[in-house]
Symmetry: none
Subunit: 225 residues, 2 copies
Amino acid sequence: METILIIEDDSSMLRGLTDNFAYAGYNVLTASDGEKGLNAALDAKPDLILLDIMLPKINGYEICRLIRKEKLDMPIIMLTAKGEESDIILGLNLGADDYVTKPFSIKELLARAAAFLRRRKQKEKDSYKFGDFVLDISARKLTKKNEEIELSPKEFKLLEFFLKKQGKALTRDEILNAVWGYNSFTGHRSIDRFVTTLRNKIESGPHSPVFIHTLREIGYKFESI
Amino acid sequence: METILIIEDDSSMLRGLTDNFAYAGYNVLTASDGEKGLNAALDAKPDLILLDIMLPKINGYEICRLIRKEKLDMPIIMLTAKGEESDIILGLNLGADDYVTKPFSIKELLARAAAFLRRRKQKEKDSYKFGDFVLDISARKLTKKNEEIELSPKEFKLLEFFLKKQGKALTRDEILNAVWGYNSFTGHRSIDRFVTTLRNKIESGPHSPVFIHTLREIGYKFESI
DNA sequence: CAAAACCGTAACAAATCGGTAACAAGCTCC
DNA sequence: GGAGCTTGTTACCGATTTGTTACGGTTTTG
């Protein structure tokens, strides 16, 4: 879950923001003055910060500058009553990523926050874990405790399909369609052959858990326990 | 110099933006309808796009969606007369990074653009190290223990792309798009030829580590370990 | 309990894919 | 205009991958 830090001294504004972001599914941290806010930012390293400018103890600009000085690069959205052009420019130059002036639409703010987080998430690689194994799709490799295990293209595709459909019973026809393509003429028994080679690579050891289960007369099912 | 693409059909607005961004030191490209704009974006791969919503031929939302579909991730700032909350949210959800409503302050827009580009620049390296090698982007040269190794322009571009995408599986199409351009008619096998010549230059020795890995049926992957 | 159905797997043949050399066309710099 | 470099294409070859089949073991069924 994404963690978001809201630094705001107006308690009714803070409550409104907290409620909305919590309702939208974020883990919300709050701080009511600049000092607490800065500490929370450095300490918890949230995924995004909503930052008021006018704050007791340390103002928003200063917090922004200090966070960037620590080479933390989470997005910072500044919230303020000031709509002065020069303030906006100052904020952006100090390393803020966006600047929203009060009064603002909470939905718009949620959308802006989501846009920043989506962007970051896009860059994270997608991978599946099972037992000691990790199948990293973007690097296209399977590892067991950081040791790479070679897979042929079909083996990779088959394992990827199994992982995408974990816990589901898969008929041979479904597997053929998904891995070999709907117009292939490959026979059903070829699947079995590839299951054997896959099993040799991921269930070789004597105490190794069983991932690929045979469903007699149906096909197979992958379960990572 | 940073290249910025402005897609806007109102000619006086376009001129105003162009002048200001050119004066601020950007290399400015312009397009006056959606179709030209999309082509310019895919072709020139600018560092940032200013995008009007209401455009002839293809609208701004669609352009935004199509650009993101091509896995291009330059920042997109939407410009529009519409100030409706729902439009803003739609734009941000389609992959825009910011949304500025007309009339806007040109200084604020410049500051917002600068903020995105600054962030980008922070992350981009201008030299990459791998094994005994250093690829210096700004000096445009590859060295192995201070000995320069000659690279042709395409070889350099290919190696640079590999290094930017270290650890990621790259399909031949992605490589063609990034190194040869999306509208090139170069065949897939030409990549292989360049990979061979690159390998001869950076993996020649008998004990030299393998950097460029072949991924059968996919393409290649660069790994510096 | 025997026959049938089904699956695991080894062996083998066929197909596919990538490495690379050779060559032609383009380009650049004299 | 020509030498030399760069780029793109093609063809051949070898290695890997893939699909099929056959044999044997196990489970189900009658």
